[in-house]
């Protein structure tokens, strides 16, 4: 039996979760827009980076991005949450770095329902 209070308590929780989810999506869109601006591009078309995400590319990356990129290399395909668990950094931070790597063309992103998965763009030109 579920008490009336629990039912009433659950509704606001669901609403709050919905709001949080929407904010996260919005945040992600902003991140991508900012990254695109930085790279002087307008759309998130599939771009081919100058080099594929190999060890030499990893070496030349700034430290904070290398950590994220290496985690994706190890996990193969992962959400920002899963990456954050490995790197012990905040989910929002990893989400920003992952989207940055997507804009740079090293990663691809795929949405499955509520979750966004990141994986290596194997079509990158070498």
């Amino acid at each position: 039996m579920v008490s009336e209070r629990e039912v009433l308590g659950r509704k606001p929780l669901q609403i709050l979760e919905k709001i949080k989810e929407s904010l996260e999506r919005l945040n992600e869109k902003m991140e991508i827009m900012i990254e695109l601006q930085k790279h002087g591009r307008r759309e998130l078309e599939t771009i081919t980076p100058e080099a594929p995400l190999d060890v030499m590319t990893l070496l030349s990356m700034p430290d904070h991005l290398r950590k994220t990129a290496m985690t994706i290399c190890r996990l193969g395909r992962a959400t920002a949450d899963e990456v954050a668990q490995q790197t012990h950094r905040a989910r929002a931070v990893e989400s920003a770095y992952l989207n940055q790597l997507v804009v740079m063309g090293y990663l691809k992103k795929e949405r499955r329902g509520r979750k966004a998965y990141f994986y290596i763009n194997k079509e990158g030109q070498g």
């Binding site: 080099a51 594929p52 995400l53 190999d54 060890v55 030499m56 590319t57 990893l58 070496l59 430290d63 290398r66 950590k67 290496m70 290399c73 190890r74 193969g76 290596i120 194997k122 990158g124 030109q125 070498g126």
Partner: protein
């Protein structure tokens, strides 16, 4: 969960193959399920060392995406240790294969890294291996860096030769640090007297100061090793030799890491 250990060095001839082979065999004798892989595609040596003539698939084929990993594993348990398990994956020593491996592009190397990384899933998780040991090429080249990136622990073999010390130091700082790899040093070909107990602390301090990583072990110059001409697996054939005891000590330390 098992571990991937890469044995690497800055210069050639520092004893990578000696250390990786004998370490792998020691671990297998301790009851571990071990796979030794020759990732030195420029100068393959394990097929000769282990005297294996008939090979259907090479590690080259696995990295080329021609076959899956189980096709390349050769079971040498009968020869070494039945209780643990000893398998090898070999690099193709033909000139044609060496040429092919040295002309790969960056996209291929990226895929090769992916295939090395997936060994964690296929062998450590899927087939319950306790250890995968990579014998790598010296210096900074794709195949070795791929191996280092895929490994949980890197053992760097070095001597007290000045250019080796300097190069190793630079390599640890400019490469290993960037990948945040757990690293241990093995000092090889040390003068026998220096490797004895009194000199041991001095060497430990030297390694700590020079490389800023821990010292896993010290191997003195053993004429017996040169005399064996790379025809035997030392720890297997000479269980009473001091070299064997040093390797056992290292294997014990690695197991506790």
């Amino acid at each position: 969960m098992g571990k991937i250990v890469a044995v690497h060095s800055y210069k050639g001839g520092t004893g990578k193959t000696l250390i990786s082979t004998n370490l792998a065999v020691t671990l297998a004798k301790h009851g571990k399920k071990v796979c030794l892989m020759d990732l030195d595609f420029r100068a393959p040596s394990l097929s000769t060392l282990l005297n294996i003539n008939k090979v259907e698939y090479w590690l080259n084929d696995y990295l080329n995406g021609v076959c899956e990993i189980d096709k390349i594993l050769i079971d040498l348990g009968d020869r070494i240790s039945k209780q643990g398990g000893f398998f090898v994956g070999l690099a193709n020593p033909s000139v044609e294969a060496i040429r092919d491996m040295s002309s790969k592009d960056r996209k291929w190397e990226m895929r090769a890294l992916g295939r090395l990384l997936s060994l964690r899933n296929s062998l450590l998780n899927g087939k319950n291996f306790d250890y995968i040991i990579f014998d790598t090429s010296p210096g900074l080249q794709y195949s070795s860096i791929n191996a280092i990136v895929s490994a949980d622990l890197v053992i760097v073999a070095t001597t007290l030769d000045n250019s080796d010390v300097e190069g190793t130091r630079r390599m640890l700082r400019d490469l290993y640090d960037l990948f945040e790899k757990k690293t241990e040093i093995v000092l090889n070909k040390v003068m026998y007297e220096d490797a004895l107990r009194s000199g041991r602390d001095k060497l430990q301090a030297l390694v700590k100061e020079t490389y800023e990583v821990p010292l896993l072990g010290v191997i003195p110059c053993f004429c017996d090793i040169s005399r064996a001409e790379g025809k035997i697996i030392f720890v297997h054939e000479k269980p009473q030799h001091p070299f064997t005891r040093i390797l056992e000590d290292m294997a014990g330390k690695i197991d506790k890491l």
